[in-house]
């Protein structure tokens, strides 16, 4: 994690708490993603799994605990991020703070069914698009393109889900399944374009090597038929895996390169924001995953080049 800034003056916004909460949330969300959403869903295919019941139960329990810890930290991160964005005292900062607050209210109201499902879906979509727009506006032009591609992919998938929910609620039905294919293309384009977030990309040999390894590994998994990989793509990331395998392999390579490059250049807050967006995935799954996306985009909005000094780390134009 980035060095914690010293507190400047009494009453000043304490960014260190936000850094710790976002760092902890990212760590917990990644454990939840890899253990609960990925391992336990694939481990059932292990022959004679019952003989490993002890370790399996322990690991599954750890995954569930990581999930609940993520939820707690997510709830803590929302007001902290809203406050940090509000304190920027700019139009986009205020709008983003309102979007975060609105999402928190929607997620709280959706649980007991206080609002119709399509209203909750549309509200979440609006929050994500708002934060993607704000985050894009505070990146350089190439970084903005990456975040807008993610926002577009999320929006296309979420519009499909919202229309389906609205139809079930009696608002009429239209055939919108083409939106899913458009979302698939947008999601893959976002991953392929992600190296644009990192300037001077090709000079990082480690990141390049990691990207190449991910490309080969993911390509091998998909190239061999890759049904498990594809269904995990649908479950975890909201992508149905209908495009040629090579495209997903390239996308995995590009994402790995971007993550390693962000790590290598010590752009930790951007890295955390990016990881949270990836952990949330494309489209509407549940308020937890939507929350990860919302928080990730808010962190990216705060960690861009034009930021409040609290979280600013990127000096690129």
């Amino acid at each position: 994690m980035a060095a914690i800034p010293r507190q400047s003056q009494p009453g000043a916004f304490d960014a260190s708490a936000l850094r710790y909460v976002v760092g902890g949330l990212t760590l917990a969300a990644l454990v939840e993603l890899f253990v609960l959403r990925t391992f336990t869903r694939t481990a059932i295919h292990i022959p004679a799994l019952e003989e490993l019941a002890g370790p399996y139960t322990l690991l599954a329990g750890l995954g569930r605990y990581a999930y609940y810890l993520s939820v707690v930290l997510l709830i803590a991160a929302l007001p902290l991020l809203a406050l940090a964005l509000w304190r920027r005292r700019t139009l986009t900062g205020v709008v983003a703070a309102v979007a975060l607050t609105a999402f928190a209210a929607i997620a709280a109201a959706a649980g007991p069914g206080a609002i119709p499902e399509h209203v909750a879906d549309a509200g979440t979509l609006a929050a994500v698009v708002t934060l993607a727009g704000v985050a894009a506006g505070h990146q350089n032009t190439r970084g903005a393109l990456v975040l807008l591609l993610f926002g577009a992919a999320f929006a296309l998938s979420a519009v499909h889900t919202t229309l389906q929910a609205a139809a079930q609620g009696g608002l009429g039905t239209i055939d919108a399944h083409d939106l899913l294919f458009a979302s698939e293309i947008g999601g893959v384009a976002f991953a392929l374009a992600s190296p644009l977030l990192v300037p001077g990309a090709c000079r990082r040999r480690t990141a390049l090597a990691a990207g190449a390894v991910a490309l080969v590994v993911f390509g091998s998994l998909l190239g061999a038929g890759g049904p498990t990989t594809r269904i995990l793509l649908l479950w975890n990331e909201g992508l149905s895996g209908t495009l040629p395998s090579a495209i997903y392999a390239l996308a995995a390579g590009a994402l790995s390169f971007t993550l390693l490059h962000l790590l290598g250049t010590r752009r930790f807050m951007t890295l955390l924001g990016f990881l949270l967006v990836l952990a949330g995935g494309v489209g509407l799954h549940n308020t937890y995953q939507s929350g990860l996306v919302v928080v990730g985009l808010a962190v990216l909005a705060l960690s861009g080049p034009s930021l409040s000094p609290a979280l600013a780390e990127d000096k690129s134009p």
């Binding site: 959706a110 993607a132 239209i174 269904i231």
Partner: protein, 327 residues
């Protein structure tokens, strides 16, 4: 020394904050209190005014609202293939304590004969958590404490067992001296697909990968029809499950439901298929509306959502860019 006090206090604060978060998470896990809510696709089964029956073309289905469920390739530890059917459209109704599920999907080939060993049948299945499931089961055949109940319809079972001479032109078959089951080896061995009385739907139960078996009671009925490159299949069963390993339904209840489709001409069989994630199925006490095809509100919502997202996203990005330039 005095300068160190704020730093020490900050460490205490961070430590207390971390401890509070860890304890809160433990509390949520202990009480199984999940604050998150599903935002995935859902399907509502409204109360039908008349018995929908088994005909997928019955008029009552026209007013039922479908949900389009994306599919992907089957999960497996080896290359199982599948994935040739991208989406299914599902509807649900209930009538006098019976649940009806109608599944429709595009398939240009009608594959309903499996007499040749190289031919495979079109099929569709819906999966529900078993009545006894303690939690949402694993999609792939359930888990030890949460089994699944699967209803599978097969086109070849509906079409009936074909005589080899009908499939292989010019083939000669010796006359069977008896109709006794003993001489039909697959039927004698209990293979349900060799039983002409089985019907097109099998109900199966499973409690983890490798434990799939036919249920003791076969009480699910179903019928499919292929028209203009589309299959439509209706399943129906009474709310009450025959035993705890089967699904149970009730008015006002919500459960999970997943879909699987086999495309015979693509070589789909067994684990080689297209599958969905779970969607929620709510059995509503509300009567099915009159319908009528007025989609003005839906179209307006679609335009508002798509247009709104473009305006909001692009507008804020430009606004933020200007703020950055002004600094």
């Amino acid at each position: 020394m005095y300068k160190r006090l704020p730093r020490v206090r900050r460490r205490w604060q961070l430590g207390l904050g971390a401890a509070a978060a860890l304890l809160a998470a433990a509390g949520l896990q202990f009480f199984d209190a999940n604050p998150a809510t599903s935002q995935s696709l859902f399907l509502t089964a409204y109360s039908a005014g008349s018995d929908p029956g088994l005909d997928p073309a019955d008029g009552v289905w026209k007013n039922a609202v479908p949900v389009q469920v994306p599919l992907t390739a089957q999960a497996g530890t080896y290359a199982a293939g599948g994935g040739s059917i991208p989406t299914v459209s599902a509807k649900a109704l209930h009538y006098q304590g019976k649940l009806y599920v109608r599944v429709e999907w595009a398939d240009t080939t009608k594959d309903e004969s499996t007499t040749k060993v190289e031919n495979f049948s079109d099929a569709v299945a819906v999966e529900f958590p078993a009545k006894s499931a303690a939690s949402v089961p694993a999609l792939c055949m359930g888990q030890a404490d949460a089994g699944v109940n699967i209803w599978q319809w097969r086109a070849d079972s509906q079409a009936g067992i074909k005589d080899p001479v009908d499939v292989y032109a010019g083939a000669l078959v010796d006359m069977y001296p008896t109709k006794d089951t003993l001489f039909y080896t697959a039927r004698a061995a209990g293979n349900p697909y060799a039983n002409p009385d089985q019907g097109p739907v099998q109900t199966l139960v499973s409690q983890t990968f490798g434990t799939l078996t036919i249920a003791n009671v076969q009480d699910v009925r179903g019928q499919g029809a292929w028209n203009n490159g589309n299959w439509a299949v209706v399943f129906t069963r009474s709310y009450a499950g025959a035993d705890p390993s089967q699904a149970a339904f009730a008015d006002g209840a919500t459960t999970d439901m997943a879909f699987a489709v086999w495309n015979g001409s693509e070589g789909d069989r067994n684990g080689r298929k297209s599958v969905s994630a779970f969607v929620r199925l709510t059995i509503s006490g509300t009567d099915l509306g009159a319908g009528g095809g007025d989609n003005t509100l839906a179209i307006a919502l679609a335009v508002a959502l798509l247009g709104g997202t473009v305006v909001i996203g692009a507008g804020l990005a430009i606004s933020g860019y200007r703020e950055k330039a002004a600094r």
